[in-house]
Structures are given as structure tokens and as C-alpha cells.
């Protein structure tokens, strides 16, 4: 029997930090380039990259530069008070001239064509919206950005956004009545069929926007979150049929499908291992998935067409997946 082993990985490179710019209180913008001057992979607005800081410290950051720059990638990083180490590492250890390992780009927050957009950003959540705004301008779409933060000094990119005049509403909490969260009902009270809503920011903002969009057309709201949600429920053991490889495995409690599959040498992609980055999304052919990720929308979860194999499990005894 001949076997053609297939290995699958994402683009990965050690990039040079060309600059570290302090863009606002506790926010730095890293500009990354290939040390040999090579072009970097093409991406589209909403894409993010992994910064592989150490073997155990991998974090996702949205790209805030222009996709038309083929030689540079830029990300904005907020020093988080409750940092698990990623943003602290970047603020304290990464400097101009450093090398940072980058993986990706990938995109679970794509800008879908629409005549009109409402962008709602909380704090560092504004970063993916900069290339989105560039594209909306280029195609002549109608758009509005409502951008909240603690104080004006804590909010990055204000000078870049000021060129767009009254398309941008800044809502620093210390200057604004009402605050951004107080405006959500007014902003989203009337569903529109010609508008897509994009939101990124702290969990409380995302939940408020999701609730306010409940009566909007399905698919109108796009959100991205890079923090996992707490998982309820115990792990059970279940069977997984690997359709492509023609094998069946049992996944015990405490082991993820991803690790069980990887152990067999089957090509599978993964990165965050907490259901946040979307890299391990796999097609489901049969079975009822116990979704534990934060990538899929409610309707995507209900359809059971795909799952994140790094965290999600099975509601019944058996899943058939296309791996």
C-alpha cells in the first residue's frame, strides 16, 4: 500500500519589527515586514494574524494596515489589565528590530459587499475596521463608525479617522453622554435591510449589540471576539468517524478531537486551541455538535455544517467529519 503523507500548515514566517509606535495610552502599533524584503500573503479587511510569542503564548491580532501594502503588516495591541501574558509580552519585550513569528493571515470577519455599513467599535476593537473603511470608501459605500473608549487619550487612530468628518462619531466615556453602550438601542433600534453591522470590542459591548440586533435580518450582524467563553457541561466520550482517512476513533473526556486526530498524523490545522481563532474549522457530515467556540454564529451552530475541532464535542455518541 502506498501512502502519500500530507502535511498541512499555515504560512509562517519570522518577521522583523520595523517599528513600534505608541498610538494611544497602552496601545502600540507594530509594523512587521519580511527580513528579506519578500512580499507577504495577500489578505482582505477583517483578517487577523497569530503572533507566536513563545511556544505557549500565541495571540490573535486584527490587521489594521491596508491590504494593498504587499510588504507590511500592522497590528494594534492594547496592554490588557487582565492580560494572560500576550499583550504584556508585546509591550515589554517587543521592540524595533525584534523578530516576531507570524502565522496566517486568516479571516473570519470578512467585509461582505453592501450598500451601507454601520461600524461599532469599542477600544482596540477598532483595528479591523480601518481596512474595512478604506474599502467602503473605495467602492463608494455609505458608512458610519461609532467608536467608544475610556478617554480620548486611550483611543488609537483618532487622527486617521478625523479625515472622514461626520462619518465618524467618537464616544470617549469621560466626555460623552450617553456612553457607547447607552447609544446601542438608538443606533440599532430600526432594522435596515440595506445595512450590515460590524462590531468588535469588549464582551459587554458585543453582547449588547447582539441583543439589539435580534430583530435585524439574519446575517446582518458580524462580530469578532478573541476571548473564549466559559464552557459549561461535562465532557463525554464519543466516536468520531474520519471520512477522508477512512478511520474511526473514540475521543475520551479531556481530549479534543483536534489532538486525537493530530496523534494519528492526519493533516489538520489549529492555532489557539480555545475556540477563538477559527483555524481548525472542519466540515461535519453527520452528528449533533456540542459547539463550544465563539467563532460560529447561532445559525451556523444550529446548522451543524461545521465545527471547531479544538474545543467542540458531540451531543450524542457519534460524529462524522471530513478529515
Amino acid at each position: 500500500m502506498t501512502e502519500t503523507p500530507t502535511t498541512l500548515k499555515e504560512y509562517e514566517a519570522d518577521l522583523l519589527v520595523e517599528s513600534v509606535e505608541l498610538a494611544a495610552d497602552d496601545v502600540v502599533i507594530l509594523t512587521l515586514a519580511h527580513p528579506d524584503g519578500h512580499t507577504l500573503p495577500t489578505w482582505t479587511p477583517g483578517a487577523h494574524i497569530d503572533l507566536v510569542l513563545t511556544d505557549d503564548l500565541v495571540r490573535q491580532y486584527s490587521l489594521c494596515s491596508s491590504p494593498s501594502d504587499s510588504h507590511r503588516l500592522q497590528v494594534g495591541v492594547l496592554r490588557a489589565e487582565d492580560s494572560r501574558g500576550g499583550s504584556t509580552y508585546i509591550h515589554d519585550e517587543v521592540a524595533q528590530g525584534s523578530t516576531v513569528r507570524v502565522r496566517g493571515p486568516r479571516n473570519h470577519f470578512p467585509l461582505v459587499s453592501s450598500p451601507r455599513y454601520l461600524f461599532i467599535a469599542g477600544g482596540i476593537g477598532v483595528t479591523p475596521m480601518l481596512p474595512m473603511i478604506e474599502e467602503a470608501e473605495a467602492v463608494g459605500a455609505d458608512w458610519e463608525l461609532v467608536y467608544g473608549g475610556r478617554t480620548r487619550a486611550s483611543m488609537a487612530f483618532i487622527s486617521t479617522l478625523e479625515q472622514y468628518g461626520d462619518k465618524v462619531t467618537l464616544v470617549p466615556r469621560d466626555e460623552s453622554q450617553p456612553s457607547l453602550s447607552g447609544r446601542i438601542d438608538t443606533l440599532l433600534g430600526t432594522p435596515r435591510s440595506d445595512t450590515l453591522v460590524y462590531c468588535c470590542g469588549p464582551e459587554a459591548l458585543l453582547e449588547a449589540v447582539e441583543a439589539a440586533c435580534a430583530s435585524w435580518p439574519s446575517g446582518a450582524l458580524h462580530v469578532e471576539r478573541f476571548h473564549a467563553k466559559a464552557v459549561e457541561g461535562e465532557d463525554t466520550a464519543f466516536e468520531v468517524v474520519l471520512a477522508r482517512s477512512g478511520q474511526t476513533i473514540t475521543v475520551p473526556p479531556g481530549q479534543s478531537i483536534f489532538h486525537a486526530v493530530e496523534e494519528l498524523g492526519i493533516p489538520v490545522l489549529g492555532s489557539c486551541h480555545e475556540g477563538v481563532c477559527g483555524t481548525c474549522e472542519t466540515v461535519v457530515l453527520e452528528g449533533d455538535v456540542d459547539h463550544r467556540d465563539v467563532v460560529l454564529s447561532d445559525s451556523e451552530k444550529a446548522s451543524n455544517e461545521t465545527m471547531m475541532v479544538c474545543v467542540s464535542r458531540c451531543r450524542g455518541d457519534r460524529l462524522v467529519i471530513d478529515l
Partner: protein, 346 residues
């Protein structure tokens, strides 16, 4: 008792428009009207007196008649049926029967770029054209490389063509006499790399004989064995490139670049512009005729297989497909195209 079906139902092909497509070689466009059907649209191309390539909707705004059946007069086209005159921006500038041009008298003018000896045209949202990079194919215009080319229309979707180029295992089945000896034995590991918009593959073959045509050109005995590295790249839905590099000495390589420019005519037919470029025996002009015929024959055989596959789809639908691990490249191509269609709002 029938076995239950597994696998996924393939989705019908939709052609993405937000992509630069290589419509024709630059050398094919001059100061005359050329008609082509591209991405489901009739297109007329010409070069202005200043040398700039122009692509317009090949249909008069007034009545159903192709502008390509009209006359190129300076940098304007006069419709052969009604005499409406259009400038290089697609705007009607004169109608024979009144002094004022009516409202809406214009045809689409598609953004055009020329690069690497090719005319690239954008059929998507015009504002997005400048946000998408042209694929880079430097060997096509580089004097350090010699290129043989051809062009063929094929009754198969652009996706079938890409999946064939990406599936390296098809070559020994489709064209056994042209495939390198190296493909006949156990294939080496397939290394696949992905990013948001691209997929590439790499295989490193242990030493084996070169095909006779290549060893003759390189000037090495065809009984000696050399290691080969193969790489394949989806540069965009318009371009699949293969590298086949033979290591002739520890420091030197004999390199080949197969450029496959896939331009959809519609959902089930395409135009393939192919080029095979070599960086060895570049000055050997006598090889050109032989290689053009040989590779033309190879591509013709591949395209017949693709038309057979398209015939199955046309008759009985996309159907269910069972995948193997090595299909990861072709499946990623489909994901890339689907993501592009989502962004287009298709």
C-alpha cells in the same frame, strides 16, 4: 442493499468577478477591435493610438449589436449598426441623428492593467480594483528565461482546471508519456501551506532520470539521476503556477515554470493561456517548436479530461464527492473562491 452515501455535495460553480483575469497576451491587442467573451460578458479590446489597452462592454448602448462589429476610428469606436460613437472610457460622444447625446449612453469600461506581457482586466466592483494586487510572473518577460506558449478554449469550468493543476497525482493517469519518470514511483510527502487567499504545495523527489527532452536541452546524460523539487501556487483564482526545479549540481538548478492563466468564459467553459518557461538552454531557438508542440499536446490531453469531467456535471449535476487527505489543496481552492464570492455579495 445499497450502501449509504457519505461525502459532501459539491456546490455549483459561480465565477468570482473581484479578480484580475489575464484575458489575452499584450501582443494580441493592437490598433484594431478584438472580441472575446470573458466572465460571462462580451468584451471588445483595442489599443489606443497612445498604446494603452482598453476593454469595453461589447454591446452598443442603443441597440443589440456588438461594438466589435463596428469601426475603430482614432481612439473611438463607431457602432456598425447605428453609428453611435464611443470614446475609450465607454462614453458615447456622438450620435448621428441629434446634437445632444442621450442620458445613459455609455457602455461599461473595465479597468485594465498590463504586466508581464499580459492584458489583465477587472470585471468586479471598479472601486475595488486598486485594492487587489496583480499576480507577479517575472519569468514571462525576463530575458534570462525562454518561454513557449499556447492558448486553448475548453468546455470546463475554471474550478475544474485549477483542481487538476493542484492535484499532482492526476498527471500520470492523464498523460503518462509526458510525466516525469519521478512520478511513476512512490510519491513523496505532499507539503501544503495555506493563508487567507492562497494555497501552495511542495514535493521533494529523490534522484531520478529527467525526461529525455529536458536532459537533451540541459546537456546531461538521460541515464543520470537528479533530485527534483516541485512547487505549485494558486496566485489568485486566475493563475496557477508550477515550479519544477531539477538540481543538476550541488549549486545549480535547471528550472521550469508552468504558468496556467485560467480565465472563465462562463460557469462551464474557460480559456487557458499556458506558458512553459525555462532558465536553461535559453538561446536554443530550435527547441521552441518542439516544446510548443509537446506541451500543447500535453495541455490538449489534460483539457479533454476536464471536458469529460464537465460533461458529467452538466448531465448529472455536481453530485456527492468523497475526499482523501491529498485533496486538501483542491478543497482549499474552493474555500478561497467561496470566500471571495461572500465578499462580493454574490
Amino acid at each position: 442493499m445499497t450502501q449509504p452515501f457519505h461525502g459532501r455535495v459539491a456546490t455549483p460553480v459561480v465565477v468570482p468577478t473581484d479578480c484580475w483575469y489575464a484575458v489575452t497576451p499584450s501582443s494580441a491587442i493592437g490598433h484594431e477591435l478584438t472580441a472575446l467573451r470573458v466572465v460571462g460578458r462580451p468584451v471588445v479590446l483595442f489599443r489606443t493610438s497612445g498604446g494603452e489597452a482598453v476593454a469595453l462592454e461589447d454591446r452598443c448602448a442603443h441597440r443589440a449589436y456588438p461594438l466589435s462589429a463596428g469601426t475603430l476610428d482614432g481612439d473611438t469606436i463607431r457602432c456598425g449598426l447605428c453609428g453611435f460613437v464611443y470614446d475609450a472610457g465607454g462614453q458615447c460622444v456622438h450620435v448621428p441623428t441629434q446634437s445632444r447625446v442621450p442620458l445613459g449612453a455609455h457602455v461599461d469600461a473595465y479597468p485594465v492593467r498590463e504586466s508581464d506581457g499580459l492584458v489583465w482586466v477587472w470585471f468586479g466592483e471598479p472601486g475595488r480594483a486598486r485594492l487587489h494586487r496583480l499576480p507577479e510572473l517575472p519569468w514571462l518577460a525576463d530575458p534570462a528565461w525562454a518561454t513557449v506558449r499556447g492558448e486553448q478554449q475548453v468546455a470546463a469550468s475554471f474550478l475544474l482546471l485549477h483542481e487538476n493543476f493542484a492535484d499532482v497525482t492526476q498527471v500520470p493517469f492523464v498523460a503518462p508519456e509526458i510525466s516525469p519518470a519521478v512520478l511513476g514511483s512512490v510519491p513523496p510527502p505532499l507539503q501544503v501551506t495555506v493563508s487567507e487567499t492562497t494555497v501552495s504545495l511542495r514535493r521533494e523527489f529523490p534522484p531520478a532520470r529527467m525526461p529525455a527532452w529536458q536532459s537533451a536541452l540541459v546537456g546531461l546524460p538521460d541515464t543520470e539521476e537528479f533530485a527534483t523539487v516541485q512547487e505549485g501556487y494558486l496566485l489568485s483564482p486566475a493563475v496557477w503556477v508550477d515550479y519544477w526545479d531539477v538540481q543538476t549540481t550541488p549549486e545549480a538548478w535547471a528550472r521550469l515554470r508552468f504558468t496556467q492563466l485560467v480565465t472563465p468564459i462562463d460557469e462551464r467553459s474557460s480559456r487557458l493561456l499556458w506558458a512553459v518557461s525555462r532558465d536553461f538552454a535559453v538561446a536554443d531557438g530550435s527547441a521552441t517548436e518542439e516544446l510548443t508542440a509537446m506541451f500543447g499536446n500535453y495541455y490538449a490531453r489534460v483539457l479533454v479530461a476536464m471536458e469529460t469531467a464537465q460533461g458529467v456535471i452538466d448531465l448529472d449535476g455536481p453530485g456527492r464527492e468523497v475526499n482523501v487527505s491529498a485533496d486538501v489543496v483542491g478543497l482549499k481552492i474552493r474555500e478561497i473562491v467561496e470566500a471571495l464570492l461572500v465578499e462580493e455579495g454574490a
